[in-house]
């Protein structure tokens, strides 16, 4: 009975006529565009262009061509509507739930990768939109405190992944586009073993496209926890101009600038907290449960975040 209802419902969906007309018009327009003859670029030119792109993309967290792109705080939904009435589209950041995942659940989901390091089932994941089709891998280090492997992409890209029992052991692997120092974190909180990862993605010529690092910590009594992440993507210039957050959607929303000068947007809702600092090419975030604002500020100050290099 429900199956029939389901089928009937889906079958009732039809593309609106005006949409059809727009698609057709765009297809015809596309057909009329002269198709330039494809020329194969000389390899040195490709390398040169890619090298210039990488150089231009660094430094990341603050610098020329790499400005802060955090969402704009507005009082409520009406203010968002007013601000966006002339825009074709916009983003509204809002909380899914005020109940954090349990530390157990967070650990379990992270450790799937650690435990299945030799399995291709765990080789997915990307921070670069053009690199998503992972076809195979080679384990470089299967045991020990730091595991390593290479994952190969259909277009010749390589993702080099590391997993660690202790996230401090992942430091020094990054390019320097974004980096943190977790020494203070290790001294004051308990890192979750096997839940900490770093990877970088390079294209077939060895040019850096993106990097990602994540670490999971808990208080000694395991009552509170937080996940730290940073992502760097040289291939995509993110523009947060039309991204908003409504104060009314949260218990507390504000911006906090760390002692290193990085401005984070902090959002508290229920027992959850999200903090993020977004720039054109990088995204640093904290997601945690059962943490107070002053604790979060202290954590961010002690991330010792740096960009550029």
């Amino acid at each position: 009975m429900n199956n029939e209802r389901f089928e009937r419902e889906i079958e009732s969906i039809a593309m609106p006529e005006d949409m059809k007309a727009r698609i057709l018009a765009n297809c015809h327009h596309n057909q009329r565009e002269p198709v330039p003859e494809k020329k194969r670029k000389a390899p040195w030119k490709v390398v040169l262009v890619a090298a210039v792109l990488v150089v231009c993309a660094v430094p990341v967290l603050a610098g020329q061509g790499n400005s802060l792109q955090n969402p704009t705080i507005l009082p409520d939904g009406q203010a968002v509507q007013d601000a966006c009435s002339q825009l074709d589209s916009y983003s509204l950041v809002s909380p899914n739930s005020g109940t954090p995942h349990s530390l157990e659940k967070m650990t379990e989901s992270r450790r799937m990768k650690w435990d299945g390091w030799a399995s291709e089932d765990t080789m997915g994941g990307t921070v670069v939109m053009s690199m998503t089709d992972w076809t195979g891998m080679k384990v470089l280090e299967a045991d020990g405190p730091v595991k390593a492997r290479e994952v190969y992409e259909k277009r010749g890209g390589v993702k080099t992944e590391y997993a660690a029992e202790n996230p401090v052991d992942l430091q020094g692997l990054e390019s320097g586009a974004v980096a943190w120092d977790l020494t203070w974190m290790n001294e004051n909180y308990a890192c979750v073993s096997g839940a900490d990862f770093f990877y970088r993605i390079e294209d077939r010529w060895g040019n850096l496209l993106g990097e990602h690092c994540t670490a999971l910590y808990a208080t000694q009594d395991e009552q509170a926890w937080f996940s730290l992440e940073w992502t760097y993507d040289s291939t995509y210039a993110y523009d947060g101009t039309n991204t908003f957050v409504a104060e009314s959607d949260y218990d507390l929303v504000y911006e906090y600038t760390t002692v290193q000068g990085h401005t984070f947007l902090l959002q508290f809702y229920g027992d959850c907290v999200w903090a993020e600092c977004i720039t054109t090419h990088a995204w640093v975030s904290l997601y945690g449960g059962y943490l107070e604002p002053d604790q979060v500020e202290e954590l961010l100050d002690n991330l010792s975040l740096t960009g550029g290099g």
């Binding site: 419902e9 949409m19 698609i23 998503t132 993110y238």
Partner: protein, 157 residues
């Protein structure tokens, strides 16, 4: 039953427009995003027009491209969530049976994808596996779990 491939873009849009739009809308949940993906699918199709041996091959190719584009869009959205203006109130002009629609939209994307291809387009497990690039076993599992979740949601009414 086989049928010949389309001769023109108009014919292809008439034949497959609704099929692709349903799939894209169910996966992306937003009419504006679905339109973008369907349009890009047909633009890519232009380069292939006239190269298909039969209609079924043509349809499967379109569904595969559309599925991949939807996934790209979802990935991009996950990182840079965009909300179209029309979502502020409700998903435009779709639902007749709101309970079914709500239950379907609450399912994970991987279940929605296979359910639409199977229940509505009538594809078999093996065919869906080829379209979405998964193993038949994975498709079977997703179909079973998707149906179960759908039943559970609708049973709560």
């Amino acid at each position: 039953m086989t049928h010949p491939p389309s001769q023109t873009i108009e014919e292809a849009l008439e034949r497959y427009g609704n099929v692709l739009y349903r799939l894209a809308l169910v996966m992306l949940q937003r009419p504006m995003d679905a339109e973008d993906v369907v349009q890009e699918t047909f633009i890519r199709y232009l380069a292939k027009l006239g190269t298909f041996r039969e209609g079924e091959h043509e349809k499967a190719w379109l569904l595969t491209v559309c599925t991949n584009l939807c996934r790209d869009a979802l990935r991009a959205r996950h990182r840079y969530p965009q909300v179209g203006l029309e979502q502020v109130s409700e998903v435009g002009d779709v639902p007749q049976d709101r309970a079914v629609w709500a239950a379907l939209m609450a399912l994970p994307e991987k279940y929605r994808e296979v359910l639409v291809l199977h229940a509505v387009e009538g594809y078999r497990t093996e065919e869906i596996a080829k379209i979405i690039g998964k193993t038949p076993a994975a498709v079977k599992m997703r179909l079973s779990r998707g149906r179960k979740q759908l039943e559970e949601s609708l049973g709560k009414e």
